[in-house]
Structures are given as structure tokens and as C-alpha cells.
Amino acid sequence: MSTASDKGYSAADEVGSVLEQRTRWQRVKLALKSAPISAWFGMVIVFAYIVVALFAPFIAPYAEDQIFAVPFGPWDSDHLVGTDQIGRDIFTRLIYGARNTMGIAFATTLLAFVIGGGFGLAAAISGGWIDQILSRFVDVLMAIPSLIFALMLLAVFGSSIFNIICIIAVLDSTRVFRLTRAVSMNVVVMDYLEAAKLRGEKLNWIMIHEILPNILPPMVAEFGLRFCFVFLTIASLSFLGVGIQPPTADWGSMVRENASLIQFAQYDIKAGITPLLPAGAIALLVVAVNFIVDWFLHTTSGLKDEH
């Protein structure tokens, strides 16, 4: 390398904190290579769930609402994990449940992010009274316990899938609003935002091009966690009977419908396990997503292990 002293000063020669340039793909590969076993476990599980959800009709042995003669049937070669209270194949319903519950939770989370993220960004950029009004309104919504609020609203509007998505999305968007506003506040004070304003950029350009790329890591992490919470909320509502309605298969309602089987555990351990299967499916997914989010936050936040 030529130095300034023997060639005169040149901007291109300047060294300092110059980092090695890597393409996006190289960076992803590097991150994956150093991913811990827990993250790999999470990724494999989530990938498997997604495959099952997408190809449910090909994987499942029977139709979602096909009823067989024997209710509460035992585990056998026809019905891998038995049948439920009206004789539907539980294995089939578990597979369809992945599709329904995950699909609805995903749509709800997405909607919550559009609402909460949009308003959060607007509040952070505008500040002043717009921020005050939005923030206080969110405070009011958050002051009401969300499960009870959701139960009430579902009772009023009726529990269709569309209503479930909208109501949970609005309630959860308050959390997204809070987070978006908080992380955007750190970006809003940066000089490059002032530079964009001085250039004459419009609000939506500033939101999408200047702020969003900089708050993406915490937002993606929040998306994962929020998905888990929405998923649990839907399962809870279904368990309480106001969530996804039969005959649509759903893990939350499956726990409720087969809950009574658990008392037969002392006679047939398999029967006792049956209601735990959908609950286990919920738990496994939530844990897997959390593993991924943990790893993702760790790498993007720049936290480094001690060397």
C-alpha cells in the first residue's frame, strides 16, 4: 500500500475504518455458518411447519371435516392418533390446524404491523400534537386487558375469521405502534433525516426510504415475537370458544374439544396424551420462533461473544 508520505495525499488511498465489502449473500452465509444449534433447531422446525401448512391437503390422510363412525377412537393404523369427540381424524386436523392457525396468525400480525407501524412512523416523524393524540389513544387501548377486550368485541361483532383478524390486529397494533415510534425516534434525530427534509422530500418517502431500512432489525424481531403472541391469543380465544369456529380445524379448539380425554390417562396413556398434541404443536412453534428471533437480535444488534 502506498502511503501519503511518498505519493502525496489521495482520497482513494485513505484507510481507516474501511470494512471489507461483502455482498448480501456472503453476509447471510457468514451469519448462517456461525448460527448456534438453537437457531438451527428453530429454523428447521419453522420450515417444517410451513411445509406442512402449505401442503396440508397432500399430506393429510383424510379430509378436514370427514367424520368416522367411532368418536374418541383409539390410536391405530387407520387413525394415527385416534379420532375426536365426533369421530374426525385428529392427525388430519392437526395438519390442517397448522394451515389455519398459522395462516390467520400471520395475516393478523401483518395487518397489525401495517396499522401500528404506519402510525408509529407518522407519530415519530411529525411529533407535536399528532404524536400526542396517537400516543394517548394507544395508551387508552392498552389500558384495557386485551383478552377481555377481544372477547367483548368478538361477542359484539360475531366471531368470523375476518372479525378475528381485524380485532386482534387492531389490539396488537398498539404494541407495534409503541415499538415503531420508539425505535424511529432514534433515527428521526439523525442528520440524514434533516438532510432529506431540507431536500424537500415528502412524508411517505422519508418513512419508507430513510427510516424503515434503519429500524428493520428490531421490527423483524418484533414480527416474530408478535406472531407468537397473536398465535397464542387466537389459540386462547378458540379454547374459550369464540375463536375459529368448527368445522375449521384449529389447535386451540382441538385442545378444548379433547380436553376431557386427559382424565383417561390412568387407563390409556395414549388417550391422555391426545389433547396435549395440539398444545404441544403450539408450544413447539412458539419456542422455535423465539430461538430464531434471539439469534437474529444477537447478530443484528452487534452483540459479540467474548473472545
Binding site: A11, G16, L19, E194, L198, K304
Partner: protein, 545 residues
Amino acid sequence: MNTNNSNNKEVLLQIKDLHIDGFSDNKWHDIIKGVDLTLHKGEVLGLIGESGAGKSTLGLAAMGFARPGCRLKSGSIVFDGQELMGMKERNKRELWGTRIAYVAQSAAAAFNPAFRLMDQTIESGVRSNTMSEADAKKDARDLFEALQLPDPQNIGDRYPHQVSGGQLQRVMTAMAMSSRPDLIIFDEPTTALDVTTQVNVLAAIRKVVRQFNTAAIYITHDLAVVAQMADVIKVLRYGETMEEADTRKMLSHPEHPYTKSLWAVRSIEKTPEPKTENVLEIKNVTAAYGRGENVLHDVSINLPRGRTVAIVGESGSGKSTAARVVTGLLPPSQGSVLFNGEALPAKLSGRSVDQLRRIQMIYQSADTAMNPRHKVRDIIGRPLAFYHDVSGAELDKRVEELLNMIELDASYMDRFPGELSGGQKQRICIARAIAADPEVVICDEVTSALDQIVQEGILKLLLKLQKELNISYLFITHDIATVKAISDEIVVMYQGKVVEQGVKADIFSPPYPEYTELLLASVPEMDPDWLDKVLDADKIPLDAS
């Protein structure tokens, strides 16, 4: 200074063939590549070099400490007969704060805001059981007095936010001194201060260091400062020693070409050009933030076309506020801004896209002035697309032309700001400003975060662009050397008022208004006797608090 008899003094610190590694990009890189260092008792060693030269790393290594992400790889560090390499953390901690002390650059960040200054000052003395609390407090008051702090009896009862930056830096020196260490590491203690405050701190530090015969390593990138403080100067670059010599010899006969080039930086000076018609006029502007007190009082500044007007003043003088009024971010409560003779709308939202295009801004910190998620192509390309409706291959061509103008090439197009060095980042910011094809560019302390050699490059680039494009610069700075290098006219501001405006030659020759005189007298010169002369001449009131 007692450099002549340093040979027969006892050696306090001996570093031999030290190698330090730093971890980044999943690999270890060497930061310090075999540096030797000898420090005698009571001697002050000046450590200078650009950022990234390894000054701070070496300074901390003198304490046997490596920052997280760094490791002391090989070599030896002998402090007063004890080998610090491989010494147990517990034993090292016994030395730290009692026999070796450290004074950090940002005193504000180094103090705990929840405790009074006195409690923090005496902490290390009391903790190590060398003295009782009452004795320590009395001693601290004496130190405050020696450091020329105002009201030394009671200043310790204040909290860190209740004293000024310069005072806090001196309290931190008192903290380091409280256990009478044999060695103090000063890591850029005056870099964050105004020149007029800096003199106070320098004088105070030098006084106590001499009084207690403390050895010190003084880290800085400012040659004139190190000339006042050090007996011996060591020049570092890329983790290697370039040159080491007595201060006087180093200043008068630098040997290494790199040292010479460092010395030459302060020599650029623009010859002022004749006045032209005003492109921008700030007329009798008074402004305040919110309903607070006025920050600007009846400020009038004229900027001629194709010329540079430098606004000089210390922090809080209203320099940057004046720029905010011009850009429309802060509408004035009285007065107006005229652009080419026509009044600009006071508010940003009232201005047309074309009016916005004509006034561009370059910021002090290029790190925060560029979106870290945008590539250079987007950063420079956006004003082209936004103002001039350029797109596609034409846009790429224009970006490349602009990169060539700032002495970089097309290979930088796909880099993110994080993949550039400090000077390159500032160049990209300059390219973004000129991409809009402006008539006025406001430069807000654009060189103050950069190393001297890089500063010189940026200033030369700005001068070259001014000649080619006939741009006017409103150049805000607190550094007199920069002012000399770039300006045609100078505005001196103090406490929100314009002290004087005039062509450079007039401002820099007597008679001076009182504040201008203080400001000029406070600028350190490359003369090791400068500080003594200034103190003798009594030109600067020590602590004007």
C-alpha cells in the same frame, strides 16, 4: 522543560516490542506492531497520530489494559519494576486509580451523573484506604484550587451537569491526581472543548503535573497542543513508531517524511478575492427555540457570490442557529433572509423545491449525515433524481462524474457508508450537496471531526469546487486555522451576536474587539513556549466562569 536531565532520571515505564491485536470481521488484526516506549519519572510524553494510529490503544496498554475486542499479544510492559503483561487482573486493579490514572476525552461521559463531584473525586483514594475521607476531601479542595477551578471550597458539592465542560475536565484531572499517581494517561482531554476553554485546561493540567512531578502520557492529534504539554513527542502511524524526539527538536527538525507532512498541514491559506454581489443576506435576524430566550440577537451576515464567509465562535455562540434560520428549519421571530435580493419564505414548508435546491448543507459528522442503509449510488443519485429528474444510465453517468469531481472513482458506487473512511464519507456528503447544483452551500464544522491530513484534503477540494462551480460557502467553524485556509470574509459571533464582520486581513490585524482578541490569543501555536507567553502576557483571563 526538563528534557535535558531526563537521561539520568529513573525509568518509570518501559514498553518493549509491544504487539496488540484487535478482533473484527471474524479475524484478529494487529493494531500495534512492535512499539517501544520509555518514560522517566516526571516526564511528559506526547503521543500523536491520526485516528486509527493506535494512540489510545497504546495509552491504555501502558496501564496493562486492553479494550474489549483487543488483546495484548506479545512484548513487555514494565511499570516501576513490575511486569504488567500477564499480571493478574486483581493485581492490576490495585495499580489502577492509585498509581496509574486515566483521564478520558469526554469528561461528561466519564462521570456518573447521579453523584456529586466530590464523592467521585475522592473515590479511588478512599477505596484504596490510603487516606481518610476528611483528608481526601481537604486534599481534593486543594487540587481544585491548584487546577484553578472557581470556588474550590464548594464546587465539589455540585453534580456533573452543573459545571461547564472545561471545568468537568479539570475535575477529572483532580480525580486522577487525588491518589498522587506516578503516571497519568491523558486521552485527548481538550479535544471536545472550545479554544478559549482549552487554554485554561492545558495550563491547569501542566501546572499540577509539574507540581507533583507526575509522569504523563498525553495523547492528542493536535500538534500545537502537544507542543505545549510534552517533553518528548512520539509520532505513531498504523501502529508503528514513525519518529520520537525531544519536543523542540521534533518541532524544528522533523525527520520522517510523514512527520513533515503532518507539520505542513497548517500552512494552506486562501488569498482573499475581491468582493462580489451578495447571493445571500441575513438581515437583522432574531430567533429563539420555542418560547425560550433569544439565541440570535439582531444578526446580519452577507455572503457574496462565489466567496466563502466563515462564521467563527465557540459553542453556544449561535453559529449553527444562524444556519438553521437560513435553511428554514428555524423561522426567525424578526428579520429576514434574502436570496438573490428576494426574501425567502421563513418556514421550510413555504419554500419551493427550486429554492431548496439552491441552498445545500454539509454536516459536521458524515456518519450521521448519510443513511447507513443507502449505497453511495443512492446517496449522490437522490438529489439528481429529485431536483433534475435524471434516471437510468444517465443517472449512473452523472454519479460517476460527481465521484470523479471529489477524487473518488466509480468503484465506490456500490459501497455503504460503513465501508468508507472518515474523509471519504465527508467527500460523499460534499458530492451530495453539489449534485443539487446549488448556489450556496452551508458547511457546518465539516472538517472538525477529521484528522489534519484529511482536513487538508477536504479544504483543498472545497476550494477547487468553488473555483469550478462558483459556489458560495457559509462556513461555520471554531478552528482559526481552518478559517485562514478557506475564507474570504469572516464573521465573529459571541453569545448570539455578531462581534464583527469583515475581510480576512482586517479581522486578523489589530485593533481587535475584546472577544476577537481573546479568541485569537487562545489558539495554540506550534511554539513550545506559546503557553508560557500567553500566561505571562495575561491576555487570557484564567477561568472566565
